[in-house]
């Protein structure tokens, strides 16, 4: 106010001409100046959606599109709440519930808040897979979420803190969730959310950001590749004295590389690697993050050897050697429990599939494939230079086209694990099921066993799934040359 008063007095005292001269000069911006601001309101839903516009609910692919509704019979100390009906896992209209709530129009200025808060309850005690804000189906730059949010059958208040509110000056992704039936035995349930809003609580403190789970991770990788920082979190202490950890998108962090010319990190946490060693560290809102990633780049990436079989004996899914059959995707990003990132990349002009943060991943064939004539499925896998200590994976060929899903499972890398009849072991002399060395491509030729043993209906295979058996610590792998062949 002082400055403004000062100016007014000048206006009165000085001539109009002088005033014109003054305004035409370049001046510093007064600290009293008010820029045009986006809406600063924090409310998302009270008794009805607030300021979201008309087209704001965007369900995820494969989720039940009408899982969300406004329930006028339930509410936390109010007449209405948001109701989420999570479907049975075999619901033909969608096997889970999940969506983003994105403002239909200009974003909001959330810089003055410190948390997303809401009241919630469920029809039974259940954990909601993922819930948060900052997902807009664009860059999702400032995405935050809590995993396995435990709801009870009574209304309870939940707090998801904002890692750094100064980043949220124009945010459209106000809320998102993804809920399945993994811990209800596949059975449907309902949960309600009310009083959903961003708030300034003032009681959130002790910010403890972390990258790589707060550990000092060392990775030996190939030069020329890119890799992503993972397990980015922020831990807060809430007003109730309890700690809360949320998953935080890379763009909240400031990354620092000890040798940017060797390993350069961009704002999305993607590191481009050249030969040499570099240590990547991070900070969030000025607080140094726990954990680091040391990258030792050793030599260039070697491509998988080109397959040599006669093309007439091959049906190729992914290869630069053969003509490939069409696929819908190499990574379905299945909600809510798949963590695997990555997919098809090009290295030295060759197509390669790269997965990180691996737990399971699937390739879906556009048209169901008849493999009755084929005798083997071949796949090339490259493990990191330093081999994981416990490699134990399954490759599953699935037919999901008939009323009953049929499959053949093939265990690779593991030593002692017993599986069902659907699983075969690779014990023949041609193929060895284990990895001896990291950084070297390994070809697995998986025999296609008789349907009488596995149950797999070979006339319509449409899914190839690679999954990690739980105890295994495989996190990064490259894949090439996936094809069926006959001998």
């Amino acid at each position: 106010m002082k400055n403004i008063k000062f100016m007014y007095s000048k206006i009165i005292l000085l001539t109009g001409l002088l005033l014109v001269v003054m305004t035409s000069c370049e001046r510093d911006i007064s600290d009293q100046i008010e820029f045009a601001h986006l809406a600063k309101s924090g409310e998302i839903f009270t008794d009805s959606p607030i300021g979201l516009g008309s087209d704001f609910y965007f369900p995820y692919l494969g989720s039940k599109a009408d899982a969300w509704s406004v329930d006028e019979n339930e509410g936390y100390e109010s007449a209405a709440s948001m109701r989420f009906d999570v479907p049975n896992e075999n619901d033909p209209e969608g096997t889970y519930a999940g969506a983003i709530f994105r403002v239909d129009g200009a974003g909001r200025d959330l810089t003055e808040f410190d948390a997303l808060t809401f009241w919630a309850k469920a029809s039974q005690g259940v954990a909601i897979g993922e819930i948060g804000f900052g997902q807009d189906f664009g860059l999702n730059k400032y995405q935050v979420n809590e995993t396995n949010l435990s709801l009870s059958t009574n209304w309870q208040k939940y707090v998801i803190p904002i890692p750094d509110a100064s980043k949220l000056f124009d945010e459209r992704g106000l809320f998102w969730y993804s809920a399945g039936t993994q811990n209800t035995g596949g059975n449907a349930y309902t949960f309600w959310i009310d009083e959903l809003k961003f708030e300034k609580l003032g009681t959130i403190g002790q910010l403890r950001p972390a990258i790589e789970n707060g550990e000092d991770v060392v990775k030996d990788v190939f030069a020329g590749i890119s890799l992503e920082l993972s397990n980015l979190t922020q831990t807060f202490n809430l007003g109730n004295g309890r700690n809360k950890t949320v998953n935080v998108a890379p763009s909240y962090f400031d990354f620092k590389s000890s040798a940017p010319h060797i390993s350069f990190v961009d704002e999305f946490g993607v590191i481009n690697v050249s030969n040499g060693t570099a240590v990547v560290t991070a900070s969030l809102a000025g607080v140094e993050a726990e954990g680091s990633l040391t990258i030792n780049a050793v030599g260039e990436f070697e491509l998988a050897p080109a397959p040599t079989r006669n093309a007439a004996d091959v049906i190729s899914v992914f290869s630069d050697t053969y003509e490939n059959i069409p696929v819908d995707y190499f990574n379905g990003y299945w909600e809510p429990y798949q963590t695997t990132l990555g997919g098809e990349i090009i290295i030295d002009g060759q197509d390669v599939i790269k997965f990180s943060n691996f737990n399971f991943v699937g390739t879906k064939l556009t048209t169901p494939l008849d493999i009755s004539e084929m005798t083997h499925f071949s796949i090339d896998i490259l493990m990191p230079v330093v081999l994981p200590t416990d490699i134990d994976m399954l490759i599953v060929l699935k037919n999901e086209n008939t009323a009953e899903t049929t499959l053949q499972q093939q265990r690779i890398g593991g030593q002692t694990y017993q599986w069902s009849d659907q699983t075969g072991d690779i014990n023949d002399t041609e193929t060895n099921a284990t990895f001896e060395t990291g950084g070297v491509w390994k070809t697995f030729k998986i025999p296609l066993r008789p349907t009488s043993e596995t149950g797999l209906d070979k006339t319509g295979v449409n899914l190839i799934i690679i999954e990690r058996i739980k105890s295994s610590n495989v996190t990064d792998l490259h894949i090439d040359n996936m094809y069926f062949f006959k001998e």
């Binding site: 300034k200 003032g202 009681t203 959130i204 002790q206 202490n237 007003g239 004295g241 700690n243």
Partner: protein, 319 residues
């Protein structure tokens, strides 16, 4: 309630400048539950502004060293070994810095510091206040408190204890102020310590400095934080006699008609028997940062250390 207190405190401040003490008492008398006896303690008797870098002023401060006289974590299963090393206690940038460190030291898992004015400064009554920023980690127990200077002669809890500020991360928006004495030590029956906490509401104590103080007279101890008077403890809050004393609690007697065997009995109203008010003698000051122990519990695994308790000043006034 706290809001009301705040309001009253502001009224008081204004009134103090213009009106007599009598007028103030009239203001307070409209609500008996919130009656506060207010005095002005404006003559400085001791102050440490922590302006001289290095070790704390040895004319004011002594240190308790080790794990307590019974080697039991100062009676509370605390984890730290107290030292007077500069790593654990120093004055820098105008602040007293008490640092809790996680380290193996003489059989303890942590070190920290405990400053006492015992033998160097003590006073009965007055205003005792300090401006403190508490550390934010779990399993820490920063405290600003007073102990009766007769502790070595009469022991605890007979000596009396006035806790001006105690904090733990379980309740980051609250600190508590308490008294302990014979029969209300908090460890023994029949009465617990006399205590009350003050909740900041939309803020947490580890986020900034706050002034923690008491105004203490012969018949009362007033507790305040910043500009908020939030509690008053008086002898009437002590409803027991000392646990080891012989006493009869008067439960009252019902009236009865005279009979052949006994005369008529007059009704007697029940009364509380008040315990010993042990706060009429000099007390000395203690400022410490404990790790673990019965009050905060142990630190979370992976908690960040070192953790600092910062003290901007300690000031004592008399009337």
């Amino acid at each position: 309630m706290n809001k009301n207190n705040k309001k009253r405190m502001r009224i008081t401040t204004i009134l103090l400048k213009t009106l007599s003490l009598v007028s103030i008492l009239i203001v307070y008398s409209c609500d008996t539950d919130e009656t506060q006896t207010v005095a002005t303690f404006s003559n400085l008797t001791m102050a440490d502004e922590f302006d001289v870098e290095g070790a704390p002023n040895s004319e004011i401060w002594n240190f308790d060293i080790g794990t307590g006289p019974n080697l039991d974590g100062w009676g509370n299963n605390e984890l730290q070994y107290y030292t007077d090393r500069s790593e654990n206690v120093t004055v820098q940038n105008g602040l007293l810095v008490i640092t809790a460190i996680e380290e193996d030291y003489n059989g303890s898992s942590h070190t920290s510091a405990k400053l006492i004015t015992k033998g160097k400064f003590s006073q009965a009554y007055g205003r005792f206040e300090a401006r403190i920023k508490v550390p934010g980690g779990s399993g820490l127990w920063p405290a600003f408190w007073l102990l009766g200077e007769n502790v070595d002669v009469d022991g605890w809890p007979q000596c009396g204890e006035i806790d001006i500020m105690e904090y733990r991360r379980q309740e980051p928006t609250k600190v508590s102020g308490s008294i302990h004495g014979p029969g209300y030590s908090g460890l023994t029956d029949p009465q617990g310590q006399v205590t009350k906490s003050y909740d900041l509401g939309n803020d947490r104590y580890d986020a900034d400095f706050h002034i923690f103080g008491i105004e203490w007279g012969p018949e009362y101890i007033n507790y305040y934080i910043d500009d908020v008077l939030y509690n008053q403890i008086t002898p009437s809050d002590i409803v027991v006699t000392p646990a080891d004393a012989v006493y009869t609690l008067n439960d009252g007697v019902e009236a009865a008609e005279a009979t052949e065997d006994s005369p008529a009995i007059e009704a007697v109203e029940p009364t509380d028997v008040t315990g010993d008010w042990v706060f009429n003698k000099p007390f000395y000051i203690i400022i410490n940062l404990a790790v673990g122990g019965n009050f905060p519990g142990n630190p979370d695994s992976g908690e960040t250390f070192p953790q600092n308790m910062l003290v901007d000043y300690v000031r004592v006034y008399k009337q």
